[in-house]
C-alpha cells in the first residue's frame, strides 16, 4: 500500500479515519471524536469529506505527546455500521503480521 508517509495532498475517496502509534509503546491507536486516542478501531471518528479529514488530521498532529505519526487511512463501513480496515496495510496494523512468527513456523516451543 502506498506508504502514507508519501501522502502529499489530502484527498479522501471514501470513509476515513486518523490513525497513529502510541508514543510510549508504539501500539496502534485511532483518533476518536472526543479529541482522544483509542486502541479500538470501533472508537475511531469517521470522516467523509476531505475538509473534515484535514481538520481531524491537524487536530491529531497537534496532540503529539501521546501519539506519533498520525495519518489518514481508509475504512470500510458495512450497512450495519461495522467498521473494518480499508486496505491491507490497515488490516495488518490491526491484526498483526500475516506470517507465522519464527518459533511457530519451525514447530519449536513458542516464546511469550
Amino acid at each position: 500500500m502506498t506508504s502514507p508517509l508519501e501522502q502529499k495532498k489530502i484527498k479522501i475517496t471514501g470513509p476515513s479515519i486518523v490513525t497513529a502509534n502510541r508514543t510510549w509503546d508504539g501500539a496502534v491507536i485511532y483518533r476518536t471524536a472526543q479529541q482522544g486516542w483509542s486502541a479500538e478501531l470501533d472508537d475511531a471518528a469517521i470522516v467523509r469529506s476531505s475538509d473534515d479529514a484535514r481538520a481531524l488530521l491537524a487536530e491529531s498532529t497537534a496532540d503529539d505527546v501521546g501519539a506519533v505519526g498520525p495519518y489518514i487511512a481508509p475504512v470500510l463501513v458495512s450497512e450495519s455500521g461495522k467498521v473494518e480496515p480499508g486496505n491491507l496495510r490497515e488490516q495488518i496494523r490491526r491484526s498483526g503480521v500475516t506470517i507465522g512468527l519464527p518459533a511457530q513456523t519451525l514447530g519449536l516451543p513458542v516464546q511469550v
Binding site: M1, T2, S3, P4, L5, N21, T23, W24, D25, G26, A27, V28, D64, V65, V68, G69, N87, L88, R89, I92, R93, G96, V97, T98, I99, G100, L101, P102, A103, T105, L106, L108, P109, V110, Q111, V112
Partner: protein
Amino acid sequence: MYAYDEIDRTLVNERVAEFRDQVKRRLSGELTEDEFKMLRLQNGVYLQLHAYMFRVAIPYGTLSSQQLRRLAHVARRYDRGYGHFTTRQNIQFNWIKLAELPDALADLAEVGIHAMQTSGNNTRNVTSDQWAGVAPGEIEDPRIWAEILRQYTTLHPEFSFLPRKFKFAITASAHDRSAIKIHDIGLRLHKNAQSETGFEVLVGGGLGRTPFIGKTIKPFVHGRDLLSYVEAIMRVYNQYGRRDNIYKARIKILVHELGVEKFAAEVEEEWQQMRDGALKLDDDVVEDIRARFFYPKYQKLPHMPDELKQASADPAFERWRKNSVATHKVQGYSIVTISLKPVGGPPGDATADQMDALADLADKYSFGEIRVGHEQNLALPHVAKHDLPDLWKALDKLGLATPNVNLVSDIIACPGLDYCSLANARSIPIAQELTRRFANHDTAELIGRLHINISGCINACGHHHVGHIGILGVEKNGEEVYQITIGGRADEKAELGTLIGPSVKYDEVADVIEDIVEAYLALRATPEELFVDTVKRLGVEPFRERVYATR
C-alpha cells in the same frame, strides 16, 4: 573480536544516559516528535506499522557468545522472543516499547553492544566480510580498519546531520562478500608495489529509487590517509549534497550530477588541505587497534580427521558439509555458515532460544565467536573439522542446518508490509512460499548458486536490484504486484538486474520464479554455468519468452 576498553564502554554508557534523558523529555512532552524523531533514529529506533522497531549495531558483523546471549535476553525481556538479522549485519527487534528502550540499551551496553547511528542521516554500520580474518587468500583483516572507521564516525560532530544516510563497506578479498560497490563509500583493501596497505576508494554506490554502482575516485589511498580522505569526502557531501528532496539526497546523486571527475577533484582539493593534519594515522595507533582484536590460538590439526571420514557415510551430514562448510585459512579448521532460511520460515529470523543455543555452540566449537552476513545468515568462523559432525547434529536439532546456503531457497528479503511502514507490499510470505516450492535439496543443488532478493518497496532494503533474481513489491490499485528482474549481482562484478516483463500478482510470483528457473535449466550451456552467467550470455529475451508465453 575487538575488545572494548574502558574508554569505549564509557562512551556507550554516556550515550545511553543521554538517550534516557531524551526519552524522558519526549514522554513528558518537552520534546515534540519533530524534535525527537531524528534523535531516536540516531539510536536505531524506528516507528513501524504495529510498534517501534529497534535496530542494534553489530559492528562489521562480529559477535561474541556473551553478546549473542544478551541479544537473546533483549528478545525475551523486551520483545516477542526473536530477532531479525539484516542486510547490513545488524539485528532488528520489531515490538520494542519506547519507554523500555533505555533499559534495553543499558542491558546491551554491559556487553559492549549499542545502537548508535543505526538509523538517521549520519554514518551507519561499517560492514565487512563475514569471513574476515579467516578467509583463505585475504590480504589482511579488514575489520581492523572497519573498527578505526567505526570509532572515527561515531558521534562525529561535523557529520551527524548529513543530507541523508551514509553507508560504508570494506573488503579485503578478491571475491567481494561485502558488496562494496553498492555503498556510499566502498573500500577495497589491497597493497601497493611497496607492500603497503591502502584502499581503492569507490563512492556513490547505492540502490533505492535510483540505483548506482559505485565509482572509483582514487585507486590507492594509503592506510595512514584513510581517515583524512574519508573526512574530505564527507565534508564535500555535507556541504553540497542536496537537501531539498530526500529522494535526491544521497551522495550517489551528487556524484552523478557533478560527474565522477569533478567530484573526485573536489575531494582531492579538500584533502590536500588537511592530509597532514590530526587525522593522519600513525602506525602505532593502527597497531594498537589491531592488538585489541582477539585471534584464536589455533591448534595444529590434520587436514582430514577421522571423525570427518566416518561421518561422510551419512548422506545428510555430507549434504550439509558440502553446502554450508567453507575452507578456512588454517588447516584443520572450517568456516561454518548457519542458514537462517528454513523451509517455510521468515528469512533471517532467529528465536531467543536459538540464539542462546548458538552462543553455547560458539563457545564449544568456535572460540566464542559468531559472525553475521549481509545475506541474513550467521557463521561460526573457527570450527575444527573434527567437530563438524557433532556441531551439525546440534544445529540440526535447532533448525539451523538447512543445507541451502547460496542456493535458490537462501533468500534475502526485507521485512516488507508485514512490519515496515515504508512498504508497499509483503515480501516475507513470498520468500516463505518460494522456500516451500524449492524445498527439495536435490533440486536446489541441481539449480546451483542462485540469489533471490525481495524488497517490499523501492527503498530496496532487500537489495533486489543486485539479486540474480530480484523481486520488487509495488502497489497497483490497492493490490500487491511484483516486478521481477534477473541478472543482477552484488559482488566484485556488481551490476543491476534487468526487468523481465510486466508485473505479476502476489499469487503468481512463485509460479513465475519456478518458470524462470525451469527456463535456466533448459538454457544453460553446462550444469556448471550459473544462472547469473546464463542470463549474461543470453540476455533477458529467452527468459521473457518462456515466462510470459502463457500469461
